[in-house]
């Protein structure tokens, strides 16, 4: 099995999982994807050597390659989850800003009323 083709397939799967948004990903997420592909290449090379030397069977080899494909799906879930966490933090920051602004506004009004009554 040509692991360049396999790597291409893994990359294709990963990108399709993330939609066409790879270019929009933050540098950190892009680095995650690239690190993952680099790690995949090293594993595929090692497994191919183990197979060629008869240390594992073809069945074992297929199982391991499939597990790497499953890991692609898991990596996709991880990336989606981290994006969601970041969006959640952004939402909380927006909420915080709105509330603090509104509280400041209410306080100003209150102070103004107190001064007028005095």
């Amino acid at each position: 099995m040509d692991f360049k083709d396999l790597l291409k397939e893994l990359k294709g799967n990963l990108l399709s999982l993330m939609g066409s948004k790879f270019d929009d990903l933050k540098d950190e997420s892009k680095k995650d994807v690239q690190d993952f592909l680099k790690a995949s290449k090293a594993k595929l090379e090692r497994w191919t050597t183990l197979l060629a030397e008869g240390n594992i069977t073809l069945d074992d080899y297929k199982w391991l390659v499939e597990s790497q494909k499953d890991l692609v799906v898991l990596q996709g879930l991880y990336a989606a989850g981290v994006s969601k966490i970041k969006l959640g933090h952004l939402k909380n920051s927006i909420l915080d800003t709105v509330i603090n602004t509104a509280i400041g506004f209410v306080k100003e009004k209150e102070d103004g009323n107190n001064e007028a009554n005095a």
Partner: protein, 154 residues
């Protein structure tokens, strides 16, 4: 009077903002998930080391591990805003996927497994569980607690 009006206005605005962003609700870090996940990782890798021996001879240890994994799945299923972690744990446990669930299934089918395969499979299971643990670790309790404090629901 005006102050009360602004307070009501502020409350309505907050409610609107929170409810409109419901789908963006961030998952919250959970100490139990992190701790139990770490234990399961260690147990899974130790159990995999035994796969050079017959499945039947290790049946008790396998059943004990499987029961702990099932409990974790059930726990993850019932956590709020936890779709992604639950999906990840389901993959780990699924006998049709090639992580610990699939490894145990393969062990059962073959009776015993060979050393080099076990070593490589352990790497895969370890990477998968590391992703779950890293994801749990990325969840931030500070932001959620701050939000709850602001809304007075802590």
């Amino acid at each position: 009077m005006k102050t009360r009006f602004y307070a009501v206005y502020l409350g309505a605005l907050t409610l609107l903002l929170v409810s409109s962003c419901g789908s963006l609700r961030a998952p919250v870090f959970d100490q139990y998930s992190y701790q139990k996940g770490t234990e399961l990782k260690v147990d899974a890798l130790n159990l995999m080391d035994k796969a050079t021996m017959s499945y039947d001879s290790e049946k008790t240890a396998i059943d004990t591990f499987q029961a702990e994994l099932d409990k974790m799945l059930e726990y993850q299923k019932n956590r709020e805003n936890n779709t992604i972690s639950y999906a990840m744990w389901k993959m780990i446990a699924n006998p049709d996927k090639n992580f610990i669930g699939g490894f145990l299934e393969r062990w059962k089918e073959k009776g015993t497994l060979i050393g080099p395969f076990i070593t490589e499979a352990k790497g895969q299971v370890s990477d998968a569980l590391d992703l779950i643990l890293q994801y749990e670790g990325k969840k931030d309790p500070v932001a959620e607690n701050k939000l709850k404090a602001i809304l007075g629901i802590q």
